[in-house]
């Protein structure tokens, strides 16, 4: 109430004053608030003359004093300057102006002015951030960095607000119902024993230990640190955390190997920082600065890379698959493939084209998607289930009608997937010469023994929870039409 009144009052006052002003010059006047109640500093101007309260209404149009705002701002300047002078004296007193300090101060000032100019800039900025900002060379990079800081600050403030709210609610509840002996909430009575979190942890731990003894190894190649920006490195560390947790929780985990992990490298430092020293030591994975080719026999290793010419048809439990732990926001085609070529390793890519109607985006996947796919294919042997982890935005469902038509006998010959003889031949080839076999066909398998047949079996019985297409529905209709007409009426 008081605020509103104040607002009304001041508005009226200022209007009145304006009338006086425009006719007879400046008087004593005070400025109050905007209607929202934002209190502004009031200023006073005085001149020698008195108010003439019976001044007439000003004519609109030409007679408005358009440059009035200038005098208002100038008079304000005079007041401000005296304050600023004091400040400057204080400043000069205590600061020893080194050139770097000067730059930092200027940067800070620039940030504050950008804030006033309505740019997306954080409200508070730490010295460290100012330093990073001053080191950025271009204006656009500075603006981008400030925008990033501002958005981050917004998120932080939001979550802080939420916490405050929760705390306030709890306190209120406690104030209303103080927790005394009589007032305690009743203990739940159940015939089921409560399952405790650490029991689950222990179970997962046993599984992890078993995987480390007997499980199939899965290698993450951590040698790409030099090819990533700091941001990309952070992202890949986040993805590695997800990889580890996903693997730990799975029914039959892999034995994770982090190869090429340099003890002093940024990769390891960040991992240890994110996990904490103790948790990192307790983790049931193997880390080594050695290369994967030194840890495992060459013929067992298969590098999974999107640029490989070979398609991985069947998941082979006797192989050791290698995944390059790299995040490349600007795509670096052939980076991990080059590594595989140099080390003369066998390579393979996931059968994305064979199963998915690919629409947009590169055929690179994140590390956590990779481990989910690999865990699922290992557990179920079904690519349909495994490739469900490929982001939906990149594709438009699985190929289904094609497979149905193949079942119906009108197989498309161009697939080249269903020739066990060729598979056999190529398998032998790949076993003898891991890389650079000369033939280099588009579809040389990296499959193991007897998998061609297994593949056939799975391939012919696709999982049917896949979106149906125009083709298949029409086929269905045809089929149902046939069933509707009795056999004796057909030719």
């Amino acid at each position: 109430m008081p605020l509103e009144m104040m607002g009304l009052f001041s508005r009226r006052v200022s209007v009145e004053l304006w009338r006086l002003w425009s006719v007879s010059g400046t008087r004593h006047f005070s400025i109050g608030t905007f209607p929202t109640g934002q209190v502004c500093s009031s200023r006073s101007f005085s001149s020698g003359r008195y108010l003439r309260t019976d001044a007439s209404q000003p004519d609109q149009g030409d007679k408005i004093d358009l440059d009035l705002w200038k005098s208002v701002m100038r008079s304000q300047t005079a007041v401000d300057e005296s304050i600023e002078e004091d400040k400057e004296q204080v400043k000069k007193g205590d600061s020893t102006d080194s050139p770097s300090g000067c730059v930092l101060a200027a940067t800070r000032e620039l940030v504050s002015m950008w804030r006033q100019a309505g740019k997306l800039v954080p409200d508070k900025i730490t010295d460290e951030d100012v330093k990073t900002l001053a080191e950025l060379t271009t204006k656009s990079s500075k603006k981008k960095y400030l925008k990033f800081l501002a958005i981050r600050e917004g998120h932080k403030n939001k979550s802080k607000e939420k916490q405050e709210k929760k705390r306030a609610e709890r306190e209120q509840r406690l104030a209303e119902f103080p927790e005394t002996l009589e007032n305690r909430p009743p203990v739940k009575n159940s015939f089921l024993m409560q399952y405790r979190d650490h029991w689950l942890d222990r179970l997962l731990g046993w599984r992890g230990a078993q995987a480390m003894n007997f499980g199939q190894p899965l290698v993450f190649d951590m040698s790409y640190e030099a090819h990533m920006t700091p941001q990309e490195l952070t992202n890949s560390v986040s993805q590695m955390l997800e990889v580890e947790s996903c693997n730990r929780r799975s029914l039959d985990p892999f034995h994770l190997h982090l190869c090429n992990l340099q003890p002093e490298g940024g990769y390891r430092q960040q991992l240890v920082k994110r996990y904490g020293e103790d948790a990192w030591d307790r983790l049931l994975i193997t880390e080594t600065p050695q290369r994967h080719v030194d840890v495992f026999p060459q013929e067992q290793l298969v590098y999974l890379t999107a640029d490989s010419p070979n398609v991985l048809r069947t998941f082979d439990p006797s192989k050791v698959y290698v995944v390059g732990a790299m995040v490349d926001r600007s795509i670096q085609t052939g980076r991990s493939f080059a590594t595989a070529k140099r080390l003369q390793m066998a390579t393979a890519r996931l059968p994305l084209d064979q199963f998915l109607r690919w629409e947009i985006g590169a055929k690179t996947l994140t590390l956590d998607q990779m481990i989910r796919i690999l865990l699922t294919i290992k557990d179920t042997g079904s690519w349909e289930q495994a490739l469900a982890f490929v982001p939906k935005r990149k594709h438009d469902g699985f190929y289904q009608e094609k497979r149905q038509s193949e079942r119906g006998g009108t197989a498309a010959r161009d697939r080249g997937d269903r020739y066990p003889q060729r598979d056999q031949r190529e398998r032998q080839g790949s076993a003898r010469e891991p890389w650079g076999a000369g033939r280099g066909g588009q579809d040389r398998g990296v499959s193991g023994k007897g998998v061609g047949m297994a593949w056939e079996r799975e391939y012919k019985q696709p999982v049917t929870r896949i979106r149906s297409s125009q083709n298949s529905t029409s086929e269905d209709r045809r089929r149902t039409d046939k069933t509707r007409t009795p056999w004796y009426q057909q030719d």
């Binding site: 200022s14 209007v15 004053l17 304006w18 002003w21 425009s22 400025i31 905007f34 209607p35 929202t36 934002q38 502004c40 500093s41 009031s42 200023r43 000003p58 609109q60 149009g61 408005i64 004093d65 358009l66 440059d67 009035l68 705002w69 200038k70 208002v72 701002m73 100038r74 304000q76 300047t77 401000d80 600023e84 000067c102 730059v103 200027a106 940067t107 000032e109 620039l110 504050s112 002015m113 950008w114 006033q116 100019a117 309505g118 001053a134 271009t138 204006k139 500075k142 640029d307 010419p309 052939g334 493939f337 080059a338 070529k341 140099r342 650079g436 000369g438 280099g440 066909g441 588009q442």
Partner: protein, 590 residues
């Protein structure tokens, strides 16, 4: 469109061979100009009358079509091609419909519902507007000012808004003043901007970059342009000023006859590693044409000024800058204004053989000097093929075997990008490749076909017999399927010597980008323009294959002492990898 091209091409040819009235394109046998021995300095000789006879004696010849205007490097070609392809796929019609259906994009939704007044309002009226406004009252002033700027309202309206705000709150936000300032500078109210400067300087501890740039622009247009210098100095403390800032001050200084500071700032721009704006150059040339006031402080003698301007032309030459038409105009005017000389400028074009149609002199050759050539060869090997990781594009063994292959074989005349050439006609790739190889063989050229190993696997598109014939008629090298073949193509061509060409439609931009420094990239582009053959038009079955002519002259700013030739950019469609076709010819005739 094709008909017009043909017509234009005929026109060009008509100009060339005055003797024969009708030219049959198929029989046209323009020899390429292999000016191996000729150095740029030696080319001051008057145009040779009997051009063809001289050139026929040179060893190398490929049957070529005229380059103008369909050469892949001619300005606007890329745009034309995309449009043609669009029309072919009938995408154009769809897109046009889309464009018609699209409303102009809605932006600045915050100003929706606000109505800009058409006259200055009194504070009472503004108050009424404020109460009726749909946006929040605290942001009303800023939104209204934005709207005024967008609608291009008069300055008085904005002033009345400021007055209202000042009366209402006693102060003004920086953002509001900044927007007002933008309005002033856009409308050219420089005096008002200067007032604003005083006020903002007083009211706020510092200025941010946006306001500084606006003040620099405003000050540079007035007598007090020197005021802009301290602002620029302040900006430098936190941020590298943009070329636009420099350009504003330089033109301001030149407008007021202070040449020396302007050139000093120009040097600063170059020192920062920035490319000056065309506006800067224009201001410099226009300043030169006006004539400096040498006596005054900050002036410069005309001779010195002229030297500096010639330096600017040298910069354009070194950095392969093509001025736009208005800058070329300024250059022409400056040359005309030079006292004691009789420069005559002319807008002209250059004949396909590299003779200026204006003055009849021959332009610089596109061939590299031997030093440049060896430098480029080394760089291509080191940066394009090997790079940081040899395995990225090939393998170490493959590269070695290719080097041995090239050493073993005789020197090639043409290197063919097998897959690129073959894929011109989808479905019968091997036939296409065979046709090209046959044509090259008929012309008696040693050719190398580069491909990938999968081409040797017989299939519908890669016929076994055709591939066998190709291997008989030409030398062949097939890379792994996982390797790139273009780098090998470049290497083989460079290794075979200056006379060797390569045949591909690929503009090799991704490989050019692998080169680390701008100088080598320019060298590469120059070499590419002089050595890349492109198949002309479509190739029908059973007909001979023709090649686009390689232009024998370099498109670059050049001088012979008595003349200047400046290629200028008069088409909006020019892509960065194309060169302009129009020239400014300046001759000094006493």
């Amino acid at each position: 469109m094709g008909a017009t091209f043909l017509f234009q091409a005929r026109l060009c040819l008509y100009g060339l061979s005055q003797s024969s009235g009708i030219i049959h394109l198929g029989k046209m046998c323009a020899r390429t100009m292999c000016t191996k021995g000729i150095k740029p300095g030696e080319r001051k000789s008057p145009p040779r009358k009997n051009d063809t006879t001289i050139r026929q004696t040179e060893s190398f010849k490929v049957r070529q079509m005229p380059s103008f205007p369909t050469s892949v490097f001619a300005a606007g070609n890329a745009k034309r091609t995309t449009e043609m392809l669009k029309r072919k796929t009938a995408l154009a019609s769809l897109e046009q419909e889309d464009a018609a259906g699209d409303q102009p994009r809605r932006r600045g939704f915050k100003t929706d519902g606000l109505v800009a007044p058409d006259r200055p309002l009194s504070p009472t009226e503004w108050k009424k507007q404020l109460e009726e406004a749909p946006c929040s009252p605290e942001r009303f002033d800023v939104h209204m000012m934005t709207l005024l700027f967008k609608t291009g309202a008069e300055l008085d309206i904005a002033k009345s808004l400021l007055t209202f705000v000042a009366l209402e709150t006693g102060t003004m936000s920086y953002q509001l003043l900044l927007q007002y300032l933008t309005l002033c500078v856009k409308g050219g109210h420089d005096a008002e901007a200067l007032d604003c400067y005083q006020i903002m300087r007083g009211a706020f501890p510092a200025l941010e970059t946006g306001a500084s740039s606006l003040f620099i622009k405003a000050f540079s247009r007035t007598e007090s342009w020197r005021e802009a210098l301290p602002i620029l100095r302040d900006m430098k403390k936190v941020i590298a000023p943009s070329t636009r800032n420099y350009s504003d001050i330089i033109s301001g200084a030149l407008l007021h006859g202070a040449a020396a500071p302007a050139w000093q700032l120009y040097d600063e721009v170059l020192g920062e590693g920035l490319t000056p704006l065309p506006d800067t150059w224009r201001a410099l040339f226009e300043g030169g044409a006006r004539g400096g006031r040498a006596e005054e402080e900050g002036g410069m003698s005309p001779a010195e000024y002229g030297e500096r301007l010639l330096g600017v032309l040298g910069y354009m030459r070194d950095n392969q800058v093509y001025p736009e038409r208005n800058l070329a105009d300024a250059i022409k005017t400056w040359f005309h204004s030079l006292p004691g000389h009789h420069w005559r400028g002319e807008w002209t074009t250059v004949s396909p053989k590299g003779v200026c149609k204006g003055c009849g002199s021959e332009l610089e050759s596109i061939q590299l000097t031997p030093e440049e050539y060896t430098h480029l060869e080394a760089r291509v090997m080191a940066d394009i093929i090997q790079g940081k990781d040899v395995f990225q594009k090939t393998t170490a063994e493959e590269l070695e075997s290719f080097k041995a292959f090239v050493k073993r074989k005789p020197v090639f005349d043409v290197v063919v990008d097998g897959l690129n050439v073959a894929n011109i006609v989808k479905g019968r790739q091997s036939e296409m490749l065979l046709a090209v190889v046959c044509e090259l063989e008929r012309q008696g050229l040693t050719s190398l076909v580069l491909g990938r190993k999968h081409m040797l696997r017989p299939s519908a598109s890669w016929d076994r017999r055709n591939m066998g014939l190709i291997q008989k008629k030409a030398h062949c090298f097939f890379t792994e399927n996982t390797s790139e073949d273009d780098p090998f193509l470049l290497y083989a061509t460079l290794h075979s010597g200056n006379h060797c060409r390569f045949l591909s439609r690929d503009l090799m931009r991704d490989h050019k980008a692998c080169l680390p420094d701008a100088l080598t990239r320019r060298l590469f582009f120059k070499w590419q323009r002089g050595h890349q053959l492109v198949i002309h038009g479509t190739v029908a079955q059973g007909r001979r294959v023709g090649f686009q002519m390689i232009s024998p002259y370099d498109t670059i700013v050049q001088s012979t002492g008595v003349s200047w030739h400046v290629p200028y950019d008069d088409s909006v469609d020019r892509s960065s990898y194309e060169v302009p076709q129009s020239w400014l010819c300046l001759t000094n005739k006493p």
